[in-house]
């Protein structure tokens, strides 16, 4: 298992790379009207309109800084790659990956948060890494409507 690491403020988060299509630089986004600031906007990804969520805003109440290391992770939420349901995740400091073999899950899995999109907590060099479940973010915040309907 390979994880893509990023930061929200000082905290480290990880996404499983299975669902990731591509990691791209931050592009200019067109805002949706009447959406909370967590929805950063949408952009044209190879002819397809892809909505983008700002994970720093969602998890840290602060929008992503416009620096080089802020990138958009394009994930495919459809079960098959043939009919993609793409979603962009705007994250800060997406510069490193982590091979899953080198880390271990924290033994006492404390479920401090009620948020269902927070997955396992991993330990690497005494630093905690929180895994995220992308599908659950959408379900929790009713962002499903941003994506094209599932056939």
């Amino acid at each position: 298992m390979l994880l893509l690491l990023f930061r929200v403020g000082e905290d480290r988060y990880a996404l499983d790379t299975q669902a990731i299509v591509e990691v791209i630089p931050r592009v200019s986004l067109v805002r949706y009207h009447g959406t909370p600031p967590t929805v950063a906007g949408r952009f044209n990804y190879q002819g397809q309109i892809v909505p983008v969520l700002d994970l720093s805003q969602l998890l840290g109440d602060k929008p992503c800084e416009p620096v080089w290391s802020t990138r958009i992770i394009v994930v495919n939420l459809a079960p098959s790659p043939a009919q993609p349901r793409l979603l962009g995740l705007l994250v800060e400091q997406a510069t490193e990956t982590l091979a899953g073999e080198g880390v271990k899950s924290a033994e006492n899995r404390l479920q401090l948060s009620q948020q269902p999109y927070l997955g396992d907590v991993l330990l690497q060099d005494h630093e905690m890494i929180q895994c995220l479940k992308v599908e659950q973010i959408l379900a929790e915040h009713h962002y499903d409507s941003l994506l094209s309907p599932l056939d």
Binding site: E22, R26, N44, Q46, W68, S69, Q93
Partner: protein, 238 residues
Amino acid sequence: MELRTVNCELQTGITSMQTTCWTEIGVRGDRTCPELQTVTHCQNCTVYSQAGRSLLERPVPKDYVQDWTTRLAQPHNREQDTRDTTVSVCLFRLGQEWLAIPANVVNQAGNPSTVHSLPHRRDRVLRGLVKVRGQLLLCVSLHELLGIALPETPPAQNISRLNGQRLLVMGPPQALWAFEVDELYGLYRCRTEQLRNAPALGSQILERFSQSILPWQHQTVSYLDSDRLLSALQQHLL
């Protein structure tokens, strides 16, 4: 997953960095850093890589964002993947003849070293044994095998990045062959539609080993068939 690397001016940023321990106690300094014992070179050290990463914490120019916005908006054509439509070859010169072999059979290239002849083998093709990185390899003369005259005088043309003689090692890992070339250009990628059928070349032996010819720098180069070449060498050994 495809990670598009950020092409920024890393070099200019490093000079403005505050922690530059690699220029003081690291490999560019007096090498007194205790970490060097374990990491050997600063480029393997986490401090160095963290400093490199921190260069990405700078504002992005507007035209860069605009460039990527338009670039990603274009439909991606998977057919344009170059992997199937190009061949990678290694170009080298024997005598006056530029030749190419598939890049995937080339194991390594190095400086020529002494060839130790084998007792009771007086063979023009099989020159003997040569030491390459602690390994004894059979050294052959492709000049002899392909019927190319050895150069008598150093050539006037110097178009390669690396001038002079090189020892090339080729073949599958269990059966490596070393041979000297008079000049090595390096690797070159060629589109498959540019390859032409081998016409009647001057040398019949060369014709036998060529699978096609490819254009390169206003000249045509014979693209050797590595299977035929390796099996010919194998037969020669017996």
